[in-house]
Amino acid sequence: MVKMRRRKFCYFCENKISYIDYKDERSLRRFVNERGKIIPRRTSGNCAKHQRALTTSIKRARMIAMMAFESESYR
């Protein structure tokens, strides 16, 4: 049980992604729940820097209709 609670690590730090593109809707989708809400840092394990960049990217994607603002069953 203790082993399962491994330290979560920032996805973007792990994969060395410096720029989060708002057009890359496919990879943004994993940081959004079924309703289209942005998953909080405490759940996703992202670092503050990347979470900030991620939120702006998701919000931009919403503006140009690449992601939904809200949805009954997204994904």
Binding site: N15, K23, D24, I64, M67, F69, R75
Partner: protein
């Protein structure tokens, strides 16, 4: 001179020639002002995440260009006057210009890109079903898929058959989904801990 990135959506219900005219008029506006287009990507007609002007599809174009800031109000005016422009978004480009050709997969080395593609290859219905299933019981799946990781790496290098390839993509996505759900599964105990504190 600054680097900007503009993405805009043109109404796809007009004929191809007028779509092209709308897109090139934006090009011309930028270049006429001494701007230099660094990158263009006509993504074509794609589904919108929500309807705009009662349409469910739109013709997407992305431009990255170097220009003086004076271009922005002109572009803005152009987009507002042209009735076929459904949406537009201009941002200061902060990414790496040299990586531009790899859009939309860029910024995504290794595992990340592969996951994105393999997930997209499957029909959307299937994604939804599988996603929900894995959320319900993430723990057994995580353990079940782990041995697959080892087997998966060897066949990809030597398997030329199409069937083998499709097999590997499915295992990849399975593994990824297990990864996805793992943090969610671990989360509840942590929250309770915080509450106690």
């Amino acid at each position: 001179m600054r680097i900007y990135e503009t993405t805009f959506i043109v109404n796809p219900q007009t004929d191809d020639a007028s779509i092209d005219r709308d897109v090139t008029s934006v090009f011309n506006l930028i270049t006429a002002d001494g701007g230099k287009i660094v990158y263009e990507n006509r993504m074509g007609t794609r589904r919108l995440a929500y309807p705009i002007q009662k349409l469910t599809q739109g013709y997407y174009t992305t431009l990255v260009y170097e220009s003086e800031p004076e271009i922005l109000p002109k572009l803005e005016r152009h987009f507002k006057l042209g009735e076929t422009y459904m949406r537009h978004l201009t941002i200061r480009f902060e990414g790496d210009v040299s990586k531009l050709g790899q859009i939309p997969e860029y910024g995504a080395p290794g595992e990340h890109t592969r996951d994105g593609r393999s997930r997209d290859d499957r029909p959307s219905d299937e994604k939804g079903v599988e996603g929900r299933r894995s959320e319900e019981k993430p723990a057994p799946e995580a353990t079940a898929t782990e041995p697959k990781v080892e087997t998966e790496t060897t066949p990809t290098t030597e398997a030329p058959a199409v069937t083998a390839e499709t097999e590997t993509t499915t295992t990849e996505s399975d593994v990824k989904q297990a990864d996805d759900t793992a943090p969610i599964a671990t989360n509840p105990p942590e929250i309770t801990e915080e509450d106690e504190l």
